[in-house]
C-alpha cells in the first residue's frame, strides 16, 4: 500500500494494485460453478431471476446474490418489465473467455 508507486515504477515485473484487483475480481467471478452456470445460461438470451433459479435448480436468493455479484462487475445487466427483471450478459470479452474455456474443457 505504502510502496505502490515504487513497485509500479521500479519493479516493472510486477503489476500495480489496481490492475491486480480488477483482473483477480474478473477471474474470481468466473471461478464459481454457480456463476458459470448462470452466465452460460445467459449466453443466448435473457432470463428472469426466477427462470434462472428454476432452470438451474437454485434458490431464488442464491441466484439474486450471484446476479448482484455479476452486476457489480458489470458482467450482466437487466431490464425491467413490471415486477420481473430480465438479466442478460454485458461483457463480450468475459463471455468469450468463458466460451473458449468451456470448449477447451469439453473435448479434452
Amino acid at each position: 500500500m505504502e510502496d505502490k508507486k515504487e513497485q509500479v515504477e521500479i519493479d516493472k515485473k510486477d503489476l500495480d494494485e489496481e490492475t491486480l484487483f480488477v483482473v483477480s475480481q474478473t477471474f474470481k467471478a468466473l471461478g464459481d460453478p454457480t456463476r458459470i452456470r448462470i452466465l452460460n445460461l445467459l449466453f443466448h438470451k435473457e432470463f428472469s431471476v426466477n427462470r434462472i433459479a428454476e432452470t438451474l435448480h437454485l434458490r431464488q436468493s442464491t441466484v439474486s446474490h450471484q446476479l448482484r455479484f455479476l452486476k457489480n462487475l458489470r458482467l450482466v445487466k437487466y431490464r425491467r418489465e413490471g415486477t420481473t427483471l430480465y438479466y442478460s450478459h454485458d461483457d463480450e470479452h468475459v463471455m468469450n473467455m468463458l466460451k473458449q474455456t468451456i470448449e477447451h474443457a469439453c473435448h479434452n
Copy 2:
C-alpha cells in the same frame, strides 16, 4: 448429483459436472492476486522459487504453495538444476487469457 444424467441429456442449458469443475478451477487459479503476479512474472522467462519470492516480496512457502496449486492444474511446469527448481508457464491458452485481461484492465 443423482440427477446429473438428467441434466446432461434433458436440460441442454446446463453444463455437466466435470466441465463445470475444470472451468471453475481454471478461473479460480487466475482469481487470486498472488497467483496472477506469479504467472505474470513467468510470462517471459523461467524463475526459481526463491527468485519469485524475492521479486514479488513473498515468503518462500507462500510461493511454493501457490506453485503447487498452479502445477496441479498444469498451468506451470519446472525443470531441476541441482537443488534449484526453475518454474515456467505451461498453458498457452490460460496465459493468453491472462494477458488479454491484464491489458483490458490497464488502459481503462
